[in-house]
C-alpha cells in the first residue's frame, strides 16, 4: 500500500443474499485530505463505511486502512480510527462527560492523558457548558456534535463521518461544517459519506460519486462539474410539453439535460451562444453532475 494513502479499496464487493450493496468499488483516500462519498440512499455508502471498520467483511476485493489489511488487522486500524455513525448511538442516560470518559477507555487513552483528551473533545464540540448534561436533555445538534467529539477523543489519524448532518436544520448543519472544517485544517484525514451535495462541495477536497454500489465518477468538485456539466446551465420553466420540447432541442444540439422538478436544466450551454434556450442562466453545479450520473429516478 502506498504510504500516503489512509484508505485503499480495490474491487470491493459486498453482497447480502441477492442484493449487491457494493459492486466492485475502488477508492483511494490520501492522508490529510477530506474525501466525500456522495450517492443517493442505497448507493452502498454505509456498507462501505462498515467495511472500513471491519463490521462488514467484503466478499471480494482488498481493503486497507492506515496500512493495515482488513479484516485480519482491523483491530490495529481501529486504534487510530474515529467513527461518527449516521444513527445516534450515544448512551442517553449518561452525561456528555461520561460518554467521552467511556470512549476514552475504549480507545485506550492512558490514565494520565484521559482528562486532557476529554477536555479537548468537549472544547472542540463546543459543549463546555453542557458537560454535566445528560444526553437525553441535549438538542439534536448538540448530540451530533457529541457524536463527532466522541469519534475524536483519541485524536485519530482517520475519521469516518457517516451522513454527519442528516436530518439537521441549516443552522446546526453549518455549525457542524465549521467543526469538520477545523478538523480538516488540523490535517486529520476524513472520509465523509453524504447525500447533501452542498456539504460535499463545501468540505471535500475530492468527491467520489456512488451509484448502485459502484464509483461512477471521482475528482475535485469543480473538476467533476466542468467534466460532466460544463460551465453554465440554462434553467427553463414551463408546462410539461414545453419542457419536453426543450429537452428534444437540447438533444439535437448534443447537450445534456436534467429535470429539476418544475423545470429542465440544459447543461454546458457556454459554447452555443445564440442557440441556447431562453431561461435562467446559472453556473453548473455538483448537483447537476450528481443527477446526471446517478439518474433522475429514485430506485
Amino acid at each position: 500500500m502506498s504510504a500516503d494513502l489512509a484508505i485503499r479499496l480495490r474491487g470491493v464487493v459486498k453482497r447480502y443474499d441477492e442484493i449487491t450493496a457494493v459492486a466492485g468499488l475502488d477508492l483511494d483516500v490520501p492522508l490529510g485530505t477530506c474525501v466525500g462519498l456522495l450517492g443517493p440512499n442505497g448507493a452502498g455508502k454505509s456498507t462501505t463505511m462498515r467495511t472500513l471498520t471491519g463490521q462488514s467483511i467484503a466478499d471480494e476485493g482488498e481493503v486497507e486502512v492506515l496500512g493495515y489489511r482488513l479484516p485480519e488487522e482491523s483491530k490495529q486500524a481501529r486504534v487510530q480510527l474515529g467513527v461518527a455513525p449516521q444513527l445516534d448511538n450515544l448512551d442517553v442516560t449518561l452525561t456528555v462527560e461520561q460518554n467521552l470518559l467511556v470512549f476514552s477507555h475504549l480507545y485506550r487513552i492512558g490514565r494520565h492523558d484521559r482528562r486532557a483528551a476529554i477536555e479537548r473533545a468537549i472544547e472542540m464540540a463546543n459543549l463546555g457548558d453542557r458537560r454535566k448534561t445528560r444526553v437525553d436533555k441535549l438538542s439534536g445538534g448538540m448530540r451530533r456534535r457529541l457524536l463527532i467529539a466522541r469519534a475524536l477523543v483519541h485524536r485519530p489519524r482517520l475519521v469516518l463521518l457517516d451522513e454527519p448532518t442528516v436530518g439537521l436544520d441549516p443552522q446546526v448543519r453549518q455549525e457542524l461544517w465549521a467543526l469538520i472544517d477545523a478538523l480538516r485544517a488540523e490535517g486529520t484525514t476524513i472520509l465523509m459519506s453524504t447525500h447533501y451535495i452542498e456539504e460535499a462541495q463545501r468540505l471535500a477536497d475530492t468527491v467520489l460519486i456512488m451509484s448502485h454500489g459502484k464509483a461512477v465518477a471521482s475528482g475535485a468538485p469543480a473538476e467533476l462539474v466542468a467534466e460532466h456539466a460544463g460551465r453554465e446551465a440554462v434553467e427553463v420553466y414551463g408546462p410539461p410539453p414545453t419542457l419536453a420540447e426543450v429537452e428534444a432541442s437540447a438533444r439535437e444540439l448534443g447537450l445534456r439535460t436534467r429535470r429539476t422538478g418544475t423545470s429542465v436544466s440544459v447543461l454546458g450551454v457556454e459554447g452555443i451562444d445564440g442557440r441556447a434556450p431562453e431561461g435562467e442562466r446559472r453556473p453548473a453545479n455538483l448537483e447537476d453532475v450528481f443527477v446526471l450520473l446517478t439518474g433522475e429516478q429514485i430506485d
Binding site: Q76, V79, V102, F103, L106, R155
Partner: protein, 266 residues
C-alpha cells in the same frame, strides 16, 4: 497525545485487558444511572419467592431433608436470584443494545472485538449475579438461617453460575430475530429449569425422567452448592457440581460469542 500506532504486522491479541476494561467501564458508568431499578428487580423478586414459599408452604411443610423449609427455600432462591440477575438482563439488555440503541456498533468501531465485547458483558453480569445472589441468603439469615463460614463461597458460586446464565441470555439475544421470541425461551426453557432446580421442593420426589433432567440443570447444581455452603459441603459431589457449572459457563460463552459475531459482523 495521539494514540500510538500498533507495530505494523503485529496483530493485537485476543481478549485484551484494555478492551475488556473499556466495556466494563461503560457498564459501570451506566450502572450508576440505573442501579436502583436493577438492584430492586434482581433482589426483591427472589426475596418475595423466599417469603411467599418459605412462610406459605412453610406453614404446611415444616422440614425437608432435615432442614427447616425456610432454610431450604432460603438457600434455594439464591439460584433464582442468580438467574434473574444474569439470564434475563442478558437477553433483554443485549437485544436492546444491538437492535435499538446500536451501542455495540459504537463499541465495535473502537479497538474491541466481538469476543471481548461478549466476554466483558458476561463478566459484568456475573459479577452482579455474585452480589445479588447473596441477598436471599441474607434475608434467610434474618429469618433464622444459621450463618456458616461456608457461605463466604456463595458469591463465587453465584458468579460462576451467573457467567453461564449471562452467556445463555446473550446467546438467546444473538440468535433471536425478534425480542418477542424471548417469550418462547422464558416459557419453554427458563421456567421449567427454574421449577426443576430443587429450589422449592427436592428432586427425589419427582418422576425419574424429570430427576435425570434436573441433574442436568445447571441451576440445580447452583442450588446444591449453595446448600453445601450453608449446611456443609458434600466432597466430590460438590466438586463435580463446580466443574459442571464451569463447563456450562465455558460452553455458553463460546456459543454466545458465535451468536453475537453472526449478528454484529456481516
Amino acid at each position: 497525545m495521539a494514540i500510538a500506532a500498533p507495530p505494523r504486522g503485529a496483530r493485537l491479541g485476543r481478549l485484551e485487558r484494555p478492551a475488556l476494561t473499556g466495556v466494563l467501564v461503560r457498564e459501570i458508568v451506566n450502572y450508576s444511572s440505573y442501579w436502583r431499578a436493577s438492584a430492586f428487580s434482581s433482589t426483591v423478586e427472589p426475596t418475595l419467592y423466599l417469603l411467599a414459599f418459605g412462610f406459605g408452604f412453610g406453614s404446611l411443610v415444616s422440614t425437608i431433608g432435615g432442614y427447616d423449609y425456610v432454610e431450604f427455600v432460603g438457600t434455594g432462591t439464591v439460584a433464582t436470584a442468580v438467574l434473574f440477575s444474569s439470564a434475563f438482563p442478558a437477553m433483554f439488555g443485549t437485544y436492546v443494545k444491538y437492535a435499538f440503541q446500536r451501542t455495540y456498533d459504537a463499541i465495535l468501531a473502537a479497538p474491541v472485538d466481538t469476543e471481548e465485547l461478549v466476554s466483558a458483558e458476561a463478566l459484568w453480569m456475573s459479577m452482579r449475579a455474585g452480589v445479588y445472589g447473596c441477598v436471599p441468603l441474607v434475608v434467610a439469615i434474618f429469618f433464622g438461617l444459621d450463618p456458616a463460614w461456608g457461605m463466604l463461597t456463595v458469591p463465587g458460586i453465584a458468579f460462576i453460575s451467573g457467567f453461564g446464565w449471562a452467556n445463555f441470555g446473550i446467546a438467546v439475544a444473538g440468535f433471536s430475530k425478534s425480542i418477542d421470541n424471548f417469550s418462547y425461551i422464558v416459557s419453554a426453557v427458563l421456567t421449567p429449569l427454574f421449577l426443576v432446580a430443587g429450589t422449592f421442593f427436592p428432586l427425589d420426589g419427582l418422576p425419574e425422567v424429570i430427576q435425570i433432567l434436573g441433574e442436568l440443570n445447571p441451576l440445580h447444581h447452583c442450588v446444591e452448592l449453595v446448600r453445601g455452603a450453608a449446611f456443609g459441603f458434600d466432597g466430590w459431589t460438590d466438586v463435580l457440581s463446580v466443574a459442571y457449572l464451569i463447563g456450562f459457563g465455558l460452553l455458553m460463552w463460546r456459543i454466545a460469542i458465535h451468536a453475537m459475531t453472526r449478528k454484529l459482523i456481516d
